[in-house]
Assembly symmetry: C2
Homo-oligomer: 340 residues x 2
């Protein structure tokens, strides 16, 4: 398996009748074709009508084996060394012969494709490794945001048989919190000299991290970041999170040199074991499925509301609300009563 | 009217039977009580069941007068001087005797209250001015995000009779793009020395700005930022946006000293005139109403899906998806078929 080519997005677009049949595509992806995987993810990105069939095929093929891949989320502010860390983690995991997919999503961009492709250059170490698949994904599909597209892309990669899926997001805003909620294990990256202590508290990343990594640990201020984090985590534990028995580690790395990276991989393994033994893995995967189903249903409703015409439809109701004839709750009642 | 006190959030919480009746609260807000306005916005923030009644009362009182206030969005990366610029705009608008409300929302924080209150200190110039109302709002209500709560908060402020509502958001991520979509006029703030050129292109703010302001214009690099912006806007115009006849201005300010601020207020007025004359104002307000109605309806559905128990409900369906028994589209079909 090779890394996705720059022309992936184009290659993946279904071209009318020339598009490959879904069962064939799924079967190719399952037997290791990176091109087939790329096409399937493009279908997710485009919110293709074919997705319904794709997901049915995948479910049929995998049955209860769905959910085999470990899903690891990586998040952190720009500049903490996310791409370098991802690359170093991939290197380390490859030493253990794990097949690794990297899914990079940029929630800050409402536009399609390649926002992170610049960063992907750093991943070129892995470009020729058949055990590594790398993909940037547009954050906003036609029907919704990250929480619509990410779970379905994860499902495709899982069905394709990867052992680990690293989901890399930019920043620590609300969208990243949502993405982190989809991972089995979430790693929050920080670095000295970026005011990340305040940043962390503000964006609530204390609530989403399972593992904390202070990268660029050879720089001044790294110990201080670790100390601040330790204090904040202790505070957070004492206010209720402590009872779940997972002691969130704070690790230090210099990802550029690979220093400390094996310890991060070990922590991921330990957290996975904790998830399995505590039953938390099943809960998290149930939550992911819940988001997935809900978002698909809401997307379908949005489509119906936009498509139906007449007095009861969303446009007409909105016009009456804008004109002050109707309050928005009464309009919502009418929408739900008439259209669904 | 005075600025909201620090204890606003607490004061606004309905306390069982001791809570004031909705019609009375709306009437007080309409006759200029900042405490009543604060309570109503807290109801929005809390996604209170009383909101339905609030919105009905507001619609009844304002009728076709709804939508009188000019809604001006301000966005920009941290550090560009957003609070200072907001304060300077308020000062300038007060000279023209306009009543101004400032609504500050922080999409990066999933947690309640006060994320921006630190910044509000700079607004203390206006704390004793009865023509100014200032409010920070938690970005995530119980039922959803910004696009759920912001339009309803705007509706409250509009009903309370403000001439201008300044909506200040942090950063230029997806959430900010959504908020900007709710404003009549969106101002994008930049500053030299922050790598904002790249930032602007990346986050797609070229698509959302109606007016661009380069703040800290006395600093080195300000001219370069203006030049870069001009180039990017020309490029964007040539690729299709140019046909709408509004020539997006690029202004320069030193907000701390008030330099250039009257020109920004003039540009806001000119853009408002353009919006009215071109029919674009009606379109934008229709869009805002559409988002509002849609989000209320989706919130109601989420509530129903979460509340109903039995085989058909979301939890049970998600469990079957997680177990590989069902694909997510089939589950969404069942959800829509059974529950709505």
């Amino acid at each position: 398996m090779v890394s996705s080519e720059p022309n992936t997005a184009t290659a993946g677009r279904p071209k009318g009748r020339s598009a490959v049949a879904v069962p064939e595509l799924v079967s190719q992806a399952r037997s290791g074709s990176p091109r087939a995987v790329a096409r399937l993810i493009t279908l997710v990105e485009e919110a293709s009508p074919l997705l319904r069939e794709v997901m049915r095929e995948i479910a049929a093929h995998t049955g209860s084996a769905t959910g085999r891949a470990r899903i690891v989320g990586l998040t952190g502010s720009p500049g903490v060394g996310k791409s370098t860390s991802t690359s170093a983690l991939v290197t380390e995991m490859r030493k253990q012969d794990l097949r690794v997919a990297v899914l990079a999503v940029d929630p800050s961009s409402p536009f399609s494709g390649g926002a992170l492709l610049g960063d992907r250059v750093r991943m070129s170490d892995h470009a020729t490794d058949p055990g590594v698949y790398i993909r940037s994904m547009a954050s906003r599909g036609h029907l919704g945001g990250l929480s619509w597209s990410t779970p379905q892309a994860l499902r495709v990669l899982d069905a394709a048989g990867f052992d680990v899926i690293l989901v890399e997001t930019v920043g620590v805003g609300q969208s990243e919190v949502e993405v982190a909620g989809l991972a089995d294990t979430t790693i929050v990256l920080l670095a000295p000299g970026m005011g990340d202590g305040i940043q962390a508290a503000k964006a609530g990343i204390l609530e989403i991290g399972d593992i904390y990594v202070v990268n660029k640990a050879d720089r001044e201020g790294a110990h201080q970041v670790q100390r601040d984090l330790r204090g904040m985590i202790a505070l957070s534990d004492s206010s209720g999170r402590g009872d779940h028995a997972w002691k969130r580690p704070i690790l230090a790395t210099v990802a550029q040199q690979g220093t400390g990276v094996p310890e991060v991989v070990t922590a991921i393994e330990e957290h996975h074991r904790f998830l399995v033994e505590s039953g938390e893995l099943a809960r998290r995967r149930g939550r992911r499925a819940r988001v997935e189903v809900e978002e698909i249903a809401l997307g379908e409703l949005r489509r119906r509301w936009g498509a139906v015409s007449g007095r009861g439809d969303l446009e007409a109701l909105a016009a009456r609300v804008a004109a002050g004839e109707l309050d928005p709750y009464a309009a919502a009642d009418e929408l739900l009563g008439n259209q669904v």
